[in-house]
C-alpha cells in the first residue's frame, strides 16, 4: 500500500485552554496540491502552525504522520528535517542574520550537517532568478525592512532551496500586488514540477490559484472541514463566498 505523504488523523487542537480545531482528518498524496479555504478565524493558520509544531498549539487528540513517520510529538526543527515546510503569513524579522547565511545554515541542517558551498551557491542563483530576486537580496538581514512582497518571495525562496516533501503556504498571496502574485505563483509552479512533493495552500481568496493546478479543495469553518471537493470548488467559492458553508454549520 502506498503511504500517504501527509496524514492528519482526527486532529483536535487547543490554544490556551480553548479548542480551536475539532477532529480534522486530511490526507495528501505525492504530487497533489490541496487548497484549504475558509473565512477569517476559521482555524486555517492554526492548522498550519500545529502541523509545523508551534509550542503554543496543543494537540489534544489525533495524530499527524509525514511519509509514514509520526511527527506530532517532534519539535519544529525535527519536522522540518523530516521534510515539512511552512511559509509564514507574517515572516519574522531576524536582525543581524543575512538571508544567505540563514539559508546556508538551514540547508546544512537539512542535509544532515554538510554544506557543499559550490552546490549551494549554484542552486541559490538558479532559484533567485526564477523569483526575479537580485543577488544583493541575499546580503540583506532576514526580513528586516522587507516589503510584504519581498517577505513572501523570501519564503518561497526558502521553500525552493530547502526542498521539503510537503510544503504548507499560509496566506502567501495576501497583501501582494499582481506582479508579486505572479512571481510567487511561478515559484510555486516550480515546486509542483516535482511529482514526489505535496502542497497545502491556505488562503481566503482565489487569486494565487488562478494559474495553479489544484487537485482538492477543503473548506474550513469554525475549526471543522465542512466540505471537500476538486479544483472546481475554488471557482464556486469565488462566486458564492463562504456564506452557504457558514449557514450550514
Amino acid at each position: 500500500m502506498d503511504r500517504h505523504l501527509l496524514d492528519i488523523q482526527n486532529l483536535s487542537v487547543q490554544v490556551e485552554e480553548k479548542e480551536i480545531l475539532h477532529h480534522i482528518s486530511l490526507q495528501i498524496q505525492k504530487g497533489e496540491t490541496h487548497v484549504l479555504m475558509g473565512p477569517n478565524g476559521a482555524g486555517k493558520s492554526t492548522l498550519g502552525y500545529t502541523l509545523m509544531g508551534h509550542p503554543r498549539y496543543q494537540v489534544t487528540e489525533g495524530q499527524i504522520w509525514l511519509a509514514g513517520e509520526r511527527i506530532d510529538e517532534e519539535g519544529a526543527d525535527a519536522r522540518a528535517r523530516a521534510g515539512l515546510f511552512l511559509s509564514f503569513q507574517n515572516p519574522l524579522e531576524v536582525p543581524g542574520v543575512t538571508l544567505s547565511s540563514f539559508l546556508r545554515n538551514a540547508w546544512r541542517h537539512r542535509q544532515g550537517g554538510k554544506l557543499k558551498v559550490w552546490a549551494f551557491q549554484k542552486e541559490l542563483e538558479r532559484v533567485m532568478s526564477i523569483l526575479q530576486m537580485e543577488e544583493a537580496y541575499g546580503e540583506r538581514e532576514l526580513n528586516v525592512g522587507f516589503s510584504g512582497g519581498e517577505k513572501k518571495k523570501a519564503e518561497i525562496l526558502q521553500m525552493l532551496m530547502l526542498k521539503p516533501s510537503l510544503a504548507i503556504l499560509d496566506e502567501t498571496d495576501s497583501g501582494l500586488d499582481v506582479d508579486a502574485v505572479r512571481t510567487v505563483s511561478k515559484g510555486v509552479e516550480e515546486f509542483q514540477k516535482d511529482r514526489s512533493k505535496g502542497l497545502l495552500i491556505i488562503t481566503h481568496n482565489a487569486q494565487i490559484l488562478e494559474s495553479l493546478q489544484v487537485d482538492y479543495t477543503h473548506v474550513m469553518v469554525e475549526g471543522r472541514i465542512v466540505k471537500t471537493g476538486g479544483g472546481e470548488l475554488v471557482e464556486e467559492i469565488s462566486r458564492t463566498g463562504f456564506e452557504p458553508y457558514i449557514r450550514q454549520t
Binding site: R56, G75, D77, F85, L86, G96, V97, F102, H109
Partner: protein, 468 residues
Amino acid sequence: MKEKTYIEDVDRSIYDIRNDETGAYRLQEGLSQKIVERLSEEKRDPLWMRLFRLESLAIYHQMKTPDWGPSLEGLDMDHIATYVRPNTKMTAKWSEVPKEIKDTFERLGIPQAERKSLAGVGAQYDSELVYHHVRQEVEEQGVIYTDMESALRGEYADMVRKHFMKLVKPTDHKFAALHGAVWSGGSFVYVPAGVSVTIPLQSYFRFNAPGAGQFEHTLIILEEEADLHFIEGCSAPKYNIANLHAGCVELFVGKNARLRYSTIENWSKNMYNLNTKRAVVEEGGRMEWVSGSFGSHVSYLYPMTILKGKNARMEYTGITFAGEGQNLDTGAKVVHAAPKTSSYMNTRSISKDGGISTFRSAVVVHKEAKGSKSAVSCQSLMLDSESRSDTIPAMDIRTQEADIGHEARIGRISDDAVFYLMSRGISEEDARAMIVSGFADQVSKELPLEYALEMNRLIELEMKGSIG
C-alpha cells in the same frame, strides 16, 4: 523530555590558567603613605611623580566611595597589594620573556597577532610591562610607543609631565585619586603630525596575582592629521578573593586627527573594574571608541569624550555581556563644547543567569555648541527572567540649535522568532544563538577581527541542559 537550552557564558578556560608568583616582588597589602613611598622608590620615580602620588593619596583619603552604582562592599583596600612586579625586566624579544609568562601570552594569541596584524605590542604582566616592541618602519615614521616608565624618564619626559592626569585629575573621583597614588605600567604613544599608522598597536594587560590591583596608565597623543588604531586587551584568571583594576586612559586627539581605541575586557569574575577613560578632541578631529565588556564582577566604565574644537566627532560602539554574578555598569559620556560637533553612541547589552547590565549615557551640549548633533541608540537583550537590564540616559542641553536623539530598546528573545528559525530545520539552541549573535552583530563587527571571532564563538558556545 523536553530540552531547555541556554546561551553559555564566556568560555574562560584560556584565561583561567594561573601561574605561580615565583620570584615576583609583591608590595605589602593595603594603602598608606609608607606603602606609596615604597612603591615610588621601587619604581625610581622622578621627584615630581613621587609628590604627585602622595598628593593623590591624600585626595583618595578625603573622597567618598561612590554609592550610586553597583555595590563595592566586597572591595577592601586593606587586602589589595597595589604593586606586584614579575621577576623579569622588560624586553623587546619574546625569547627573553620568562617561559611561563611567555606561554601565557602565547595562549592569548598575542605574539601570533603581532606577527600577523599589529604594528607594535606592549604586554603587561601584573604591575609591569614584560615586553614592548614596535615595528621598525613605524618607529622610523617617528611614532613613539613605549611603556609609561620609560616615557617618564626618556626624551618625552616633559610631554608626559605636561599631560599626565591633566585630563583625568585625581580629584575626579576616589578611584582616579587611587590611580594617581599607585599607578604602574601602561603605554605611552605619540604620533607626530601627518603620520598615519596603518596597522594597529596593541597593549595587553594580563593580571595574574590574586588579591592585588592593576593600575596601568595609558597616554596617547596624536598631533594634527595623525591617524592611529590602538587596541587594548585585558584578562585575568579567577581567584576567590577580590582583585581591583583601576586603570586610567588619557587620549589627546589633535586637529583633524583620528584615533580609534578598541578595548576587549575579559577580566575574571572576582574583579572590580573601576576604570577611567577620557579623550579630548581638537577641531575636525575624530575619536572612535569600540568597547567589549565581557568580564569582571563589577564594572564602572564610562569613557568620556570632550569635543573641544569645531567639527570634532566621536563615535562610541559598545557591547556588554553580563552573566551570573556580574553587575556591569557601563556607558559613555560626551561633552559638546564647540559648534558643529557630533556624537553617536550605539550599544548592545546582553544579560543572562541573573546578570545585570546597566547602560548610562550622558550628553552635555554647551551653549557655544550650536549646530551640534548627538544620537544615542542602546538595545538590551535579556536571555531569561532572572537577568536585568537598565538604561539611564542623562542630558544637559544648553542650546536650542542642537539635534539630539535618544533611542532605547529592552527585550527578550521572541519565541516566535525561535519557532520561525526552527521551522527551517535549525535546532533550538542554534536558533537562539543565531538570534543573539544577530543582535550583537552590528556592534561585534566593529571589534578587531580576532576578538569578533572570539565573541561569535562564545555566543555559539551553547549548552544543552534538561528540565526533565
